[in-house]
């Protein structure tokens, strides 16, 4: 178009494309692209959409299992079989940069985006979880971001009507200015309901559904694919996306109703890179072409250019390809739900994505090449120098703890360990009446009942299912050893599922890293992917999809590498659902696993919360994670749970044994402001030759605290040992104190006091 700027090297580089990439574009289309086409390539070839820097790496992930119905990368989200013709679809996605700029709307639209991915697959979204990272809470700007993000998630999820059932929140300096907001959603469907994002059937009409397109989030995908700078943030600020959960709820109900009619040939949400990405991806998947006319696209602001319409990321919009001749059925359903819609084009056999504006062609590109032939880079990786210093750290540098009493108090009060009730009490975690284990225990557990499946709500013989979900990543450990730390994140997630009575079946991950052009940061990424792959393989929990978010940097450098791992597991029977809290006075407290990881000269203190809180250092080699041991531990615990021996199970993670014991004593909140306490008397005096700080606060992997009734204790310990899992009874539940006896000293804490510190820490900081 005449008013479009001419293509100059500056313009190309402003679009985040290199000179080589530009040459490649010319080669593909056999001519110079125009301005609109340049914009299209720039978003489609951004890291966010094309994974150009990570595609090669991600190939290492295990992606197969007999349960996989739709695998990683095939569609918007993967799908796993859960038996009886039922399936689940789930995925995690980041909205880091938008949340840095506008925390409330950024987080809200992140939730909206991931929910859309799920119902686009034909599934009814039934629960959400999230993983959040912020800088230090003592900083008021951090508190502003934290408050905004949490209320944004609450706003969207609550209004939409999806329960937010689990999550994690970490606070660490490295995230200052670049918070991480990773949102996960899960939906349920029957095998025969799987919908495809393919433009099938030449001549079929293409419908646009949802609110009018505005200038919001212009080129958001590109924004997510560069370092977060004051400049890039400012640019984004001028086009903040605003979420409308109400609209999305209508959109979801209408889409599910529509899919049931069989009138839909293909369906795709408009997420990153909006109309551009959805049209060219559906055409690419369908092996067809698509032709649309922008003049027919509903527009919110007057005078929008084709470039703007195509790249807008206005929320809650869907692209639907309808079987020709059934348009009326489709329109009737949209109208029933008061949804704006427009017929904007049709499927062709040309293989081209043709975009017109009032009949005039403004872009004409080969869809499959655009979607699938983005460049692939093998970036240079170099082991970071900081690791030398990390490895040199020894415990000789610090004295053994002389005041474990206050150390435990400080750890429980540390925001990363403290209760996250300030967060999850703002989320409706019970809507849909399926939540069997609310936030606060190791993993969330929900049931799947008839109304969890589109169209099945009145089915009487519905085969109910139970699933568990957890999300984990100890980024400090990953920073100190990306490979071990990443393996351990998978192991921790699996452990959390096992503690709840579930067998892991699948994983989705969110790789949050720094700039991939920096060889040291790329090395972190590479090592991390290696660790995740081994972990997921060990647990037979293939990766069914995920998200990569690079360029997470602030002016002081990159964030700690954060490969967030979310896992889903199945619980076979209602009776197996287990929580982390001690249940009855007189019960036996048993430790599964070695008290301290073998051969670790730091006894699990490397990278521990204890070192950070008490000694102010983030140093040392983190504990290694032996996947064989983890796997045996998990199956053993599950076996014990299934034989009805276990009353509670809680794994050891941040803060070690002492924190795990304390948390097991806290019990579930019975009602508002009404905690229940159950103390324990623990004797660790048989464990000698180890520093008390390491025994109490070390973070060796592979350990779980369980409780059983007194008479089952011996049997439980023996069975565990028979399975090859070290086990020992270490105490008894009861009283209102946590008492711990070491070989040289004895400590006692009032549970009520510990609970206060732990429960109110974040709330007080936010008051």
């Amino acid at each position: 178009m005449s008013s479009d700027p001419s293509i100059t090297p500056e313009l190309i580089s402003e679009h985040g494309l290199t000179a080589e990439e530009y040459d490649r574009i010319k080669e593909i289309i056999g001519r110079e692209p125009n301005y609109v086409e340049l914009g299209i390539f720039s978003v489609m070839w951004s890291e966010h959409c094309s994974y150009k820097n990570t595609r090669a790496l991600l190939k290492g992930f295990p992606v197969e299992s007999p349960r996989v119905l739709v695998g990683a990368g095939e569609e918007n989200a993967g799908i796993l079989d859960i038996g009886d013709n039922l399936a689940i679809s789930f995925k995690i996605e980041s909205h880091n940069h938008p949340s840095a700029v506008e925390p409330f709307q950024g987080a809200a639209t992140g939730v909206g985006g991931i929910i859309r991915d799920i119902f686009t697959m034909g599934a009814r979204p039934v629960c959400a979880i999230n993983s959040l990272r912020f800088g230090d809470l003592s900083n008021s700007e951090v508190r502003r971001l934290f408050r905004g993000v949490v209320s944004g998630i609450a706003h969207y999820g609550n209004c939409f009507g999806i329960p937010t059932v689990a999550g994690e929140v970490y606070f660490d300096q490295s995230y200052e200015g670049n918070p991480l907001v990773n949102a996960f959603a899960l939906g349920v469907l029957r095998h025969d309901q799987i919908a495809r994002g393919a433009a099938k059937g030449v001549g079929n009409p293409v419908f646009y559904v949802g609110p009018a397109t505005g200038r919001d989030g212009l080129a958001g995908a590109a924004f997510a694919s560069q370092d977060l700078t004051e400049e890039s943030a400012e640019q984004q600020r001028s086009a903040v996306q605003v979420g409308d959960p109400f609209m999305e709820k209508l959109c979801m109900e209408a889409c599910l109703e529509l899919l049931a009619t069989g009138a839909v040939a293909g369906i795709q949400d408009m997420g990153a890179a909006g109309l551009t990405c959805s049209t060219c991806e559906t055409a690419a998947r369908g092996g067809t072409g698509v032709e649309i006319d922008l003049a027919k696209v509903p527009q919110r602001s007057p005078g929008m250019t084709p470039y703007e319409i195509l790249l807008s990321e206005s929320q809650e919009r869907m692209l639907i390809i309808v079987e020709k001749g059934r348009e009326d059925e489709v329109k009737r359903i949209f109208d029933k739900w008061d949804l704006p819609w427009a017929e904007i084009g049709n499927v062709t056999d040309t293989g081209q994505m043709v975009v017109k504006n009032h009949g005039e062609v403004v872009a004409d590109l080969p869809a499959a090449k655009l979607a699938d032939e983005a460049p692939v880079y093998h970036r240079e990786a170099k082991e970071p120098v900081y690791l030398d210093e990390v490895r040199n750290f020894t415990l000789e540098e610090i004295e053994d703890c002389d005041d474990p009493k206050s150390a435990l108090e400080k750890l429980l009060e540390w925001p990363t360990i403290a209760s996250k009730n300030w967060v999850y009490r703002q989320y409706d975690h019970m809507v849909r009446a399926n939540t069997m284990v609310n936030p606060g225990s190791d993993a969330a557990v929900i049931r799947i009942k008839a109304d969890s499946v589109p169209g099945d709500d009145a089915r009487e013989d519905f085969p109910e299912k139970i699933i568990a979900l957890a999300v984990d990543c100890n980024a400090t450990h990953v920073y100190l050893d990306p490979y071990e730390g990443s393996k351990a994140s998978v192991a921790e997630c699996a452990r959390n599922l096992a503690c709840s009575g579930a067998l892991p079946i699948g994983t989705t991950d969110n790789l949050n890293f720094g700039n991939p052009h920096n060889p040291e940061l790329f090395w972190q990424l590479k090592e991390s992917v290696r660790g995740l792959s081994e972990g997921c393989t060990a647990f037979d929990a293939p990766v069914t999809g995920g998200n990569v978010s690079l360029y997470n940097q602030n002016p002081d450098g990159a964030i700690d590498p954060t490969p967030t791992v979310a896992m889903v597991g199945v619980v076979e029977d209602e009776a197996h659902v287990t929580t982390q809290w001690f249940k009855d006075k007189g019960d036996a407290v048993i430790l599964l696993g070695e008290p301290v990881g073998k051969g670790d000269i730091l006894y699990g203190l490397g990278g521990s919360a204890y070192l950070q809180v008490i000694h102010g250092c983030k140093n040392g080699k983190p504990p290694v994670c032996d996947l064989g041991i983890e796997r045996t531990l998990g199956t053993t615990l599950l076996g014990l749970i299934q034989s009805g021996l276990i009353k509670s199970a809680h794994d050891c993670s941040e803060g070690g044994l002492a924190v795990t014991l304390a948390e097991s004593c806290f019990s579930e909140l019975h009602g508002r402001n009404t905690p229940c306490f159950l103390g324990a008397d623990v004797d660790l005096s048989s464990i000698v030759d180890i520093r008390s700080d390491a025994l109490l606060f070390g973070e060796s992997h592979g350990r779980i605290i369980i409780s059983t009734s007194d008479i089952d204790a011996v049997k439980t310990v023996e069975r565990a040992k028979l399975m090859g899992v070290p086990a020992q009874r270490i105490g008894t539940v009861g009283g209102d104190q946590l008492k711990v006896k070491l070989f040289n000293e004895e400590y006692a804490w009032e549970i009520a006091g510990l609970h206060d510190l732990w429960w109110n820490s974040i709330g007080n900081a936010m008051a």
């Binding site: 209320s151 069997m436 709500d457 209602e574 508002r672």
Partner: protein, 235 residues
């Protein structure tokens, strides 16, 4: 005995109510679309929770103009039983079927947690089957559950024994500490003067099954069923 559960754009506890009435309590239950203008053969109507019309402008302010609300009013005028839960309570207040209004929680935050409810009167079709002295444990999930009405209305409600539930602590005491949203007199639920329309912020439908470790909420539905058909025996 038939139940109807209203469905507005943005309702999101509608299916939960249907599930409990149909599958847990065992009664035929239908969703009733907001554009309908009669309640069909329903013997009782539940106005469910959620965010009708996104809660935009004010909670319940748009939903109450739906055609179906005209039908509900007529149904109630003829003595039909109507129970509004959470957003349903807000809609009934907006529609003038119940007095007062529900404003922003004083914390300004959405609150989802279990609360204890003291039953303020057993003299209603919604509470009659609750054992005397029982402290109910039921979850809330709302951002605007702070009940407000003017002083005269409050006097009238109290004088006529129309408060159904009040937020209490574990001892059953009505304290400020136990109040999750700032509502007047810790009010969690009320009924109209004729006692056939009730509204409550807590969600009994989320606390009606042992699978969710909850059963206190069942008592509200059992009361309703018993009142509709005194001959019915509920387990």
């Amino acid at each position: 005995m038939n139940f109807a559960v209203l469905q507005f754009p943005g309702s999101n506890c509608d299916q939960d109510c249907v599930h409990v009435l149909r599958n847990v309590m065992g009664y035929p239950t239908q969703l009733l679309w907001h554009k309908e203008n009669n309640v069909g053969d329903a013997d009782a109507v539940v106005v469910p929770g959620g965010f009708s019309y996104g809660d935009y402008l004010r909670t319940g302010s748009i939903a109450r103009f739906s055609p179906v609300m005209g039908a509900v009013k007529e149904f109630a005028d003829n003595g039909g039983f109507v129970l509004g839960i959470c957003n349903g309570f807000q809609i009934l207040c907006e529609a003038g079927l119940l007095p007062g209004a529900l404003i922003r929680n004083r914390s300004l935050q959405f609150r989802c947690e279990h609360v204890y409810l003291k039953v303020a009167t057993y003299n209603s079709p919604f509470t009659s089957q609750i054992p005397e002295g029982k402290l109910m444990r039921i979850p809330i999930a709302h951002g605007e559950g702070n009940y407000f009405c003017d002083a005269n209305t409050l006097d009238e409600i109290e004088a006529n024994d129309r408060i159904l539930f009040q937020y209490a602590d574990r001892e059953g005491d009505i304290t400020d500490h136990a109040n999750p949203n700032g509502s007047l007199k810790n009010i969690a639920g009320i009924c109209n003067a004729e006692r056939n329309i009730a509204g409550m912020m807590p969600h009994p439908e989320r606390a009606a099954e042992s699978a969710l470790n909850e059963k206190d909420g069942r008592l509200v539905f059992e009361s309703l069923i018993q009142s509709l058909n005194p001959a019915s025996t509920t387990a």
